[in-house]
């Protein structure tokens, strides 16, 4: 591939992902508003889209304050971890044939590795704040993310068995006849729930449950450092949506009247909307309910899925 083309894709991915995340902050509030029968933010610019940028300017212009009682080195390091890890995750997402940063033969594991590194952001943020609420939020998130990571990875192994590769390009190409959401519905279901828990979005946002923990791990954060946590979360939403689309919904595949990259964009957009809808529709479970759901329901489901898939693959002698 052309040298300049690659740099263009890298730049486009970084810039596009961050811009998308910034606009998503406004988009989420607006969409939630419309679904709840009110207008949402609609004053600044057309449809109120200027609010996203007004928010950004406000957050950048705020004083960059580090609490004197905090552990300064870690306090400043923590918010960068989630941004870097999530942006690195985009490196393996194939947007269309030929349009991706790298096609690793371990792309799927790379994605899992990056999401598991994002945990540190929340964990260290909560620890460095030296604040009881932040510490509790960090503790919760550590337990939640480590346990959901286990079957997040396992739920994808069925897809790997069927496609015979960890490469995301191969996985998309293996879905030419049938999307994996049909043959791997259990895997999709578990991955969706684990994905929500992994980026601690509502209804699984126990690390930052505001009615019991003030704001959880980012209680002490303000200004640009706070917004990096926020952006990291929205980047996570985009990343998980695009992974769901790539792995289970055929990625760029679609009818010919639109170019492949549009199909990828449309499908990802639908899943982002679904994430927003979840936030508006489902109440938050209790923390112990969340953990027991993970270990007592999700893990057995994944193992059954894995066993049945393995059996079927052996029976028909595929891959």
């Amino acid at each position: 591939m052309d040298e300049i083309f690659i740099y263009l894709i890298i730049f486009g991915t970084l810039f596009g992902a961050i811009l998308y995340a910034v606009v998503l902050v406004w988009f989420e509030r607006r969409l939630l508003g419309l679904w709840q029968d009110r207008f949402g933010p609609n004053r600044v610019g057309p449809f109120g889209i200027g609010l996203a940028f007004a928010d950004m300017i406000k957050l950048i212009a705020k004083e960059d304050w580090v609490p004197p009682f905090s552990d300064k080195f870690i306090f400043i390091f923590a918010p960068t971890a989630v941004m870097i890890a999530m942006l690195m995750g985009f490196a393996v997402v194939p947007y269309a044939p030929g349009i991706y940063v790298v096609d690793l033969n371990i792309a799927l594991l790379f994605f899992l590795g990056m999401t598991s590194l994002a945990v540190y952001s929340v964990l260290l943020g909560g620890l460095a704040s030296r604040n009881k609420y932040a510490l509790l939020g960090g503790l919760r998130s550590a337990a939640q993310m480590v346990s959901y990571e286990v079957f997040m990875g396992l739920s994808l192994m069925g897809v790997v068995m069927l496609s015979g590769s960890f490469s995301l390009v191969d996985i998309v190409n293996a879905q030419k006849d049938l999307w994996f959401v049909v043959s791997q519905f259990l895997g999709f279901f578990v991955f969706l729930i684990a994905g929500i828990a992994e980026i601690h979005r509502l209804p699984f946002d126990l690390p930052e449950a505001e009615h019991e923990l003030v704001a959880g791990f980012h209680t002490e954060y303000s200004g640009m450092k706070f917004s990096m946590f926020m952006l990291g979360e929205y980047l996570g939403v985009i990343l998980i949506s695009s992974m769901i689309v790539t792995i289970f919904f055929g990625g760029w595949l679609g009818p010919d009247f639109l170019p492949p990259i549009f199909w990828f964009g449309i499908k990802t957009f639908i899943f982002i909307c679904f994430f927003v809808l979840l936030r508006g529709a489902i109440p938050r479970p209790r923390y112990d309910q969340l953990m027991s759901l993970g270990w007592k329901v999700m893990l057995p489901l994944t193992l059954i899925n894995l066993m049945v898939t393995g059996g079927v693959v052996l029976w028909w002698g595929q891959a």
Partner: protein, 172 residues
């Protein structure tokens, strides 16, 4: 010097420096962060020598799961400044003398061994499929033993946790 060799030495330097820093920090959290960086650096080294699968597993399992649990434990202990003072008392400079001497012997030995051989960097790339076939072919016994060990650990943890659960139920 080729790019790969340069990257290798860069990652190796980062790994060495962060490991030394991880050993000498008084603050447990700072030490853990350096240890995580050291693990990430060795993941890059694995990747450069043609083992991408091992590299990613290093990130997913060591940096992404085991070290998270380490940080988790540090959080529960919540030592703060008191812990740093204790470490200062325990970790006197004189303590480094003997371990340092032993490490020096190993270091000299390693230099002697390495100076004889001239192996090239970037050997054959091992794909995940080959690793899997090897693991469940000739090494299946080792995999089973490892899983047995994990099962024993799991049952042990459950046993300890269950006793605690029963006790706390009686009290309440």
């Amino acid at each position: 010097m080729s790019v790969e060799l340069f990257l290798f030495y860069l990652a190796a330097t980062v790994s060495l420096v962060s490991t030394i820093l991880a050993l000498t920090r008084y603050n447990a959290t700072h030490a853990l962060i350096y240890l995580i960086i050291s693990l990430l650096a060795s993941a890059i080294i694995f990747y450069l020598v043609g083992a991408p699968f091992a590299a990613v597993l290093e990130v997913v399992i060591y940096a992404g799961a085991i070290m998270v649990l380490f940080v988790f434990v540090v959080m529960i202990l919540n030592l703060g400044a008191r812990g740093d003072d204790l470490e200062h008392q325990w970790l006197k400079p004189g303590m480094w003398l003997f371990p340092g001497l032993l490490c020096l012997i190993l270091f000299l030995e390693m230099i002697y061994v390495l100076s004889g051989s001239s192996q090239n960097l970037a050997g054959t790339v091992v794909t995940p499929k080959e690793v899997g076939i090897k693991l469940y072919g000739p090494y299946v016994l080792a995999v089973e033993i490892a899983s047995m060990l994990l099962l024993a650990g799991l049952i042990g943890a459950y046993h300890l946790g269950r006793r605690y659960l029963v006790d706390s139920r009686k009290e309440s």
